[in-house]
Symmetry: C2
Subunit: 256 residues, 2 copies
Amino acid sequence: MKDSASYQKKKRFFEGMITLYGRNAVEEVLDDNAVEIHALHLAESNKQEGVIDRITAKARARDVEIKYHSKAALSRISRNAKQDQGVALDVIAPSYQSAEALLESPASSGRLLALDGIHNPQNLGMIIRSAAAGNIDGILLPKQGSAKLSPLVMKASAGTLFKLPIYYCDTLPEILETLQAQGWSIFGLSSHADATLHTLAVPAKTVFVLGNESEGMSDAVAAHCNARVAIPMQRGVESLNVAVTAALLAFLPAGE
Amino acid sequence: MKDSASYQKKKRFFEGMITLYGRNAVEEVLDDNAVEIHALHLAESNKQEGVIDRITAKARARDVEIKYHSKAALSRISRNAKQDQGVALDVIAPSYQSAEALLESPASSGRLLALDGIHNPQNLGMIIRSAAAGNIDGILLPKQGSAKLSPLVMKASAGTLFKLPIYYCDTLPEILETLQAQGWSIFGLSSHADATLHTLAVPAKTVFVLGNESEGMSDAVAAHCNARVAIPMQRGVESLNVAVTAALLAFLPAGE
């Protein structure tokens, strides 16, 4: 039992680790004391100057382990040879956690956004920013088919990446099924729905599902929705940007 | 008097002309019968193939004048040598008109968005899309300090560029002053304001002003606001993306 619990803990630790890269992004995160940092990775080929000096000094000041690698090994860590600039950072954001944590401590109320196939990092960052600013308690982000939490997402989130819970899972359907069994209502946004957001009484425990911008929700996810809901539009406009839709949901008046 | 009226008409005609460029953008606009096309400009160096054939055929079918130019002359027309791909199109969108038209036919109600320094074409396109889909009657877009109506804006607007009135002017303050004199209330969005959007009773004739994302409203524009209004945010988030703010305004419930 103890071994299994320890294994689970370790597994979650590594699953919940985000590896960021790029000199500006890494320096910005080193400045954010709310984020726990696991390790700083540097390419041996980096010239010791300017921003690299600052990054090294900031990591030392925070007692962060610094590891040096060949350029090729660093690319394997960052998974983005083109944009890592010889710098990567493993962070443990308490806000980034397994969706199982959500299932294990059932809430009596809440509003979640579930993202089904948001590939565009800029959209994902904007969604996180609006959700953090609005009345959303967390984002469900499947590891499959979503943009990775990267410096691009971080930039578009304008400093809000670690401000609200982001629950990762492998795929959405399994989590939505369990949430539904726990009394959550699942509403899929769809421009073809008959029900509209204006007339919707938002239940105390609600998950709003946003699909991919061009293709909408996947069938597997749509099958788990209690209902589909549309945002009424003027002038025959057919759809809204997905980050705009997320913002309209995030700023729906809070429940009673 | 007649000459002056004719001059004014001609002046407005050319001011209201939008020159788009790039093969895909031009082909897309040629397919949109709601848009009046003044002339198609082609570089003599274009190979007569594929998309150029289609563009030429579509222009002929619509009886649009086709003008051939040297590559350098075409760049002067498109004002974007890097992205014109040897193709430019002068369009007259009835929805794109001088703000004077707005002043000359005073409305009894309406909601306008005034954009003070939106440089980013993607933000401008997203704002147009949300405004067209929502309860906004028109956008006030100063020629100075705004992104030009370009293919980038068109793409981000997702086909909505010509769907709602866009009123151009040289600078905002003069127009805002006249609108105010005509009974419009001018509200500047600002994260530092005491008044919030939740508690605001939106008057029948309202202009919402959105400032530049990093610098906010200019002082000259801020001086013309009846009040500044904030959107309340959670978790200490300091600002929203300007296109998101525009969407929240566009989807405020319509007036009684």
